[in-house]
Symmetry: C2
Subunit: 213 residues, 2 copies
């Protein structure tokens, strides 16, 4: 499994997309698939698709392709989606709850086991079956678990202090939905997903188009 560490981010992102296609094809009863077919369906360059698949370590049959089950396994293994990634939701506002309720993440091996908030009125409640704890309980609850993912969805104003607590709790992976930079030690992985930034790119281009019209 040593190759997993070396797959470049753009290939990882494409592999995640191929997986959607392959899962769908499998549901339709397809048993064998070629990288050329995947390339066609995804509107991608066939050479790029072949290279992405090679990163996962699978070897196909010449002129035939891959058994779809094997290819799905190989990609899921590379993405670390065939093992369960336990996650804490930090911040249970509207975005946090949306993430918690989005069932597709389970397919990616993401399993929320606890949620945290500073709001005492929320503590003890359950959202989508996941219990909310006071944020001060984070270090204690995290102490018995390894390889936790903290899904960060707190207000930007408390991002750094919350991240500091996450780091203190020895959590090494943060999936960040908060539109603010923060500092973490080098051994902590942060992956940002910022919806309003993506929307800004779209709306600013619309503004440009309006001027052109």
């Amino acid at each position: 499994m040593a190759q997993e560490n070396n797959i470049p981010d753009p290939s990882v992102k494409r592999l995640a997309r191929y997986l959607h296609l392959l899962t769908h094809m499998k549901e339709q009863g397809v048993e064998i698939v070629s990288s050329t077919y995947i390339a066609q369906e995804m509107n991608e360059d066939p050479t790029k698709v072949r290279k992405d698949i090679q990163f996962t370590g699978i070897v196909g049959k010449p002129k035939t392709g891959f058994f779809i089950d094997d290819l799905i396994d190989s990609i899921e293994s590379s993405l670390n989606w065939n093992s369960t990634n336990l996650a804490y939701l930090i911040g249970t506002g509207s975005l946090g709850k949306a993430v918690l309720g989005y069932k597709n993440f389970e397919r990616c091996g993401l399993k929320f086991i606890d949620a945290f908030d500073t709001d005492k009125l929320k503590v003890g409640k359950k959202f989508f079956g996941v219990e909310v704890h006071h944020i001060s309980k984070l270090p204690q609850l995290a102490s018995n678990l390894s390889n936790l993912i903290a899904v960060l969805a707190v207000p930007a104003s408390v991002a750094q202090q919350t991240v500091d607590l996450i780091v203190e709790s020895d959590i090494k992976a943060i999936w960040n939905f908060v539109p603010k930079n923060f500092k973490v030690p080098e051994d902590v992985i942060v992956e940002n997903i910022l919806l309003s930034q993506s929307l800004a790119v779209l709306t600013s281009k619309i503004a440009g188009n309006k001027i052109d019209n």
Copy 2:
């Protein structure tokens, strides 16, 4: 307003993040802000921040900075967030509904006016006050409106046919949450936001780290 068309995507994304900070500062009663302070708070290079702000067309006072209200206005105008961007939600599954329910998008000028689905059981229902129509009604309902944004959250298997219908309906901007490439004419703007791809980057890195440990 001609400069709006020329702001590079990375600057647009940073401007969206500065706006979060500035709105928060304004709520705290701050009236004047310098680009150096913004750079510090965002952990960004001050020269980069100054350049980003210049793109919006605002001129600050030397050695003082910007009136926070003026700077907010200038950024919002550049991002096209001070006018309302009417949006259709296409696909009302769990992700679609999460997007619909996320109130922060209203601050970005995004206003959902209608939702569409193929599921006849959903047609006529309202989610978060927004009525669901059958997808076949899209061209007719869109025909009276300009500058619509289609927020795409359908299953990947029907992405292309849904996009074809969006294009036929003369909608020129698609905010895409579906993990599949599709073809659009050159004058249609597509901005992708793919949650599972971002998660894949994180989980594959965790897998890498596990090996290192």
